[in-house]
Every structure is written in C-alpha cells, then in structure tokens.
Amino acid sequence: MRYLLRRAAFYLLTAWAAITLNFLIPRMLPGDPVRSLIARFQGRISVEATESLYILFGLDEQKSLWQQYLDYWGNLLSGNLGLSFAYFPTPVVDIIEQSLPWTLALVGLSTILSFVLGTMLGVWVGWRRGTWADGLLPVTNFLSAIPYFWIGLIAIAVFAVAWPIFPASGGFDPGLIPSATPEFIGSAIYHGLLPAFTIVISSVAGWILGMRNMMVTVSSEDYVTVAHAKGLPERRVMIGYAARNAVLPNVSGFALSLGFIVGGTLVTEMVFTYPGIGYMLFQAVGAKDYPLMQGFFLIITLSVLVANMLADIAYAVLDPRTRQEG
C-alpha cells in the first residue's frame, strides 16, 4: 500500500510539473504569433474568450506572473482550455472530448496487445535461446529501428492501395453518423485494424527484446535451477518461475516507455487520418492552433500518467514485495 501511495504522490507531482510546464512554455517563447492570431479573430471572439486566451498565453503584461499562474489554474480547474483557432469558435475541451475516445481505443488496445504479444514471444525466444528462435532477433532489431509512421505508410501502400483490403484513412465510414449502432461499431473496428496492426508491428519488437533479455538473465537465477531440480514440467518452470519474474522489470519498463510509445502512435494516427488526438494535434500544428496544441499536450500527458498508474498497480499485484513491507 505504501508503495502505491508513494507512486500516487509522484504522479500528482508529475501532473503538477506538466501543467506548470504547459503554463511556462508559451511565456518563454515569443508571444507575437498568438497575439496576431487573436487579432485576426477580433470581433468574432467574445471578451471572455479573449481573456482566457490571454491567460493561457500570458499576453496580459499588467499581471504578475504569480497572478497569471493562479488565473491559469482557475481556468484549468473550471475546464476552460480556451478556444480553438482552427475550429473557431469550438472550445478546446470539446475537441478533446471528441477525439480522446478514438485514441484511447486505438492506441490503448493496440499498445496493450503489442505488450502482451511481445512479452509472450520474448518469453519463448528467451527460453529457447540457442535454437532457431534466435533467428527472430535480427528481424525485431530492424523493426525497432523504424519510425512508426513509416511502417504506417508502407502498410497503406500495401494493404490499402496496391491490395485494397483495408481503408486507407479515417476512423469510420464517412457515410455513417457516429452512434452506438452495430453498423457503426463494425465500421470503426474495420477502420481501426490497419492502424492497430501498424502500431503492434512497430512497437512489438521492443517488448520481445526486453523480455528476451530478462528471460536470459532470470533463467540463471538459483530459483529457476531449483525448479528444474524439483523435476517440474518445463512449462511450469518457464512460466511460473522464469517468465513470472522476468515480466516484472518489463512491466515497469512498460510504464516508463509509455511516453515514448504514445508519441510514436500519435503520428500513426496522423498517417491514417484517424480522428484521434494525434491527427488533431497534427491539424493543430498545421493551423498554428496554439490553444489546441496546449490542450492536447495536457490531455496526452495526463493520459500517460493514468496509464502509468495502472501499470504500477499491475506491478504491485504481480510483485508481492511491493505489497507488504518486510
């Protein structure tokens, strides 16, 4: 329990740091582009909305930094992240609300799938070290060195253009209206398959390698030898003794890598014009939509923190040493 409390404190601190960073970045960079954009929307934009943008970007030179910081928090806590420029005058929060579920489903599911698959393959490759299973390693090597989005491009070229069995873009059939009908869900799944496949292919290699190395290290621990000495069936030794322990560092590695992976997967969305955070972020960057970019950074960071926390809980469940002090 103490372990989880300590981790929770850490995440609160990190969330605070990320939010503060988000506050500071526009204040350390030249503010003129934002000012000129606001000027462009002059008249169409309400007074309150202008004020919230001023707070967001620290354009109000009358106020002390501290006052700005307090205002910023006030805005944030009341769920006000400003208005989007690109989708003027939609509030940033609304756009996030629309796109987050898509990303959570696609990135969340395929990342977990990739982790599970990679870990299982890693167990197997590590356990059968010195056999032909090692031949898998150079392939994973190569895959782990390619940016996600390029694999996405190739996947589209092969499976959507040259051999059109999957749609090349979008999150659902444009003829449908988002709703909870089976037809829509089916279409969403169908559109999600190729991006998911891309994410799995590009990230699975890391898990295979990590798990394989841990298996090799753990296999020479005394307790694995004891398990062999007890004459336990091979599967039981491999899973219950070697893999069960080797997976622990892999789970904490998972938590630590989430930040990296999410970055990569967001770009995958972009390639597939998938209506999630990543694609919208790309749109925001293209349109120099600063409030949207900031809002996305916050939501991405907070999601990663939550995912991290879940990984920590999984770790605590898997490792009895974190549960009881002893």
Partner: protein
C-alpha cells in the same frame, strides 16, 4: 521505435560490466570484434561519409523543379523524381547531413546532461539524489514527442539546431536513470571506497575513478538518445513542424505525404528515405547491442560459441547440462 524497455539488461545488472579490469586494451578489442558492432559501425560510417560529401556528389539540386514530373527510378534519376520533378536521390544525399547533425548533436548534449544529473545523483545520495531522481523520472514520464511538437510548433520555423536543443532537453532522462543506478553500485566498490579513504577529492574520484567505468553505459545512453533524436527529428519534419525548406529524410516524406504519393503509387518517393532511416537506426541499435553484450556477458553466447554449439548439436541451457563426450580439450 526504440523503447527504453530494451535497456533493462543494463539496469538490472549494475555489477556485471565496466569494472576496472574491463578497461584494458583487450576488453576494447573484444568490443570491436563483436560482429554486430562491426556491422553497425560500417553502416554508420557509410552514412557519415554521405553526410560529409552528400551535397558534393548529389547529381542535381534537390529543390530544383524540372519538367519531367513524377517519374519512377530511371538511369537519369536513380531513385526517381517528385511531382515537381525534383531528384529524390539528391534530396536523400543532401538530407543526410541534417539527420546526422541533429541526431549526434542532440545525443551529445543529452549525454552530457544525463552524466551531470545521473552521476551526481548516484554519487551524492541523500536529498540531492532524491531530487535529481525525481526530476529525471518526471521527464521520463512526460511524453517527450508531444512536448517537442508543442515547443517546436510555437517557435516559428524551428531549424536543425533548435530541434537538437529541444530534443536534448527532453531526452536526457533515461540515460540519467541508468547512470545513477550504475554510479550507485560503483560507489560501493572497493576501489572507490579506497580512493575516498585516501582523501581524494570528490571531483577527482568522479572524473578519474567513476567516469571511466561508466564509459559503456554512457556510450549506450548516447546511442539510445541519438536514435530517439533522429526519429523525433524526422517525425517533426514529417509533420511539417520544423522548417520544411531544410532538407532531411523527414522533409522528403513530408512532401511525399502532402502530395499524395501513396495514392499515386509513387513508392519510390517514400521508400528510400524510410529505408535510410531504418538502416541508420538498425546500425545504431546493433552498436548498442554490441555494448550491451560487452557489458552483460550473460546475453552473449558469442557468435563463436553459438557456432560451435550448433555444429555439435549441443543445446546449452539451464537445468539440463549437456553431455558431450570427446571434446578435443587435452588433459592439461
């Protein structure tokens, strides 16, 4: 993409490598005898040469449009042309410099930062350690790429140097974490204790006793950051966040994507750049594996051993010792 998960071998094995004995010449030679390392170094060397002389040997001006339009590879244009008739080979050759420059610069800066933070934290212990570890953990958890995108996006026309700086500022944390663990384990070793007992100054100990023993870890962190930097930079260029008039492989992909190269079936527009990224990335990972195996001998049934074992159909494994009668080894 390379994830930190590939590195735990180094982290969990702080005792295995980089001891004093390993520092000898034979140790270094052993590292360069590793087949993976050699392949990696050769590929990297090739691209380094391209980075240096790329603009000299490029057959065309990479930005110059011509009337040929979109063409598949031909004798005139080995890698084909873009929609505007620009020569893709020239774009790749000229773009190599930007890729390696940003990668190496960012890697270098991040390595310096991670050594400063990691070694100091590991050596200081106590409050200082807690604070610095917290800082690196926070930086690890905050997703770097979105942060980079925000910062680069807010800066109008961020060029290579800016990108390298931003990447370095966000990418040092993993290295610092690994270095801290290694420094902690080193600090308890006899020869450090002895140096401390002799009253050597902290700085002397860090520079002459600790750093040389961390070479492998620093190098591996450096290479990891270079990979991360190259991938980030290319991603940024691909998204069009950075200055799209500076050629690098990401810029090529940006133009390919924005001109619908996929729909046009112009595979030559995006395949070569991607393969180059993959080649450089693979080279760097191979070098890192070489370092890993050098540091953590358990990961290595050296190529030679593996060959001998295969030839004799011996499977070396835990729990069932192989019996092989009649090895050549004479009773000494």
């Amino acid at each position: 993409m390379v994830t930190p998960a590939q590195a735990p071998a180094v982290v969990t094995e702080p005792t295995a490598g980089s001891t004093r004995r390993r520092r000898g010449l034979t140790g270094n030679l052993l590292f360069f005898r590793n087949r993976k390392t050699v392949i990696g170094l050769v590929i990297l060397g090739f691209f380094t040469v391209l980075a240096l002389i790329g603009d000299l040997i490029a057959p065309y001006d990479p930005s110059l449009p011509s009337e040929v339009g979109l063409q598949p590879p031909s004798a005139d244009h080995w890698l084909g042309t873009t929609l505007l008739g620009q020569d893709i080979l020239s774009q790749i050759l000229v773009g190599t410099r930007g890729v390696l420059f940003v990668g190496l610069l960012a890697g270098l800066l991040a390595a310096v930062l991670s050594v400063l933070v990691g070694v100091t934290a590991g050596f200081l212990g106590g409050i200082g350690d807690e604070g610095l570890s917290l800082l690196s953990n926070i930086f690890l958890v905050i997703p770097a790429l979105p942060l980079i995108i925000i910062v680069a996006g807010l800066l109008p026309d961020a060029g290579g140097l800016t990108v390298a700086l931003i990447i370095a500022l966000t990418g040092w944390a993993w290295g610092a974490r690994v270095l801290r663990a290694q420094t902690l384990s080193l600090r308890r070793r006899d020869f450090i204790e002895a140096a401390r007992a002799n009253g050597e100054s902290t700085w002397r100990i860090i520079v002459f006793e600790i750093l040389p023993n961390l070479t492998a870890v620093i190098a591996s962190g450096f290479i990891g950051t270079v990979i991360f930097a190259i991938l980030s930079e290319i991603t940024l260029a691909f998204m069009g966040v950075t200055n799209i008039s500076e050629w690098n492989w990401g810029t090529i992909l940006f133009w390919a994507q924005s001109n619908q190269a996929l729909a046009l079936g112009a595979w030559w527009w995006f395949v070569p750049a991607g393969l180059c990224i993959a080649a450089v990335g693979t080279a760097l990972t191979l070098i890192n594996f070489g370092i890993d195996e050098f540091v953590n001998p358990r990961l290595r049934t050296t190529g030679k051993n593996a060959k001998i074992l295969r030839a004799r159909r011996i499977r070396a494994r835990v729990g069932f010792t192989p019996v092989y009668r009649g090895t050549g080894k004479e009773q000494s």
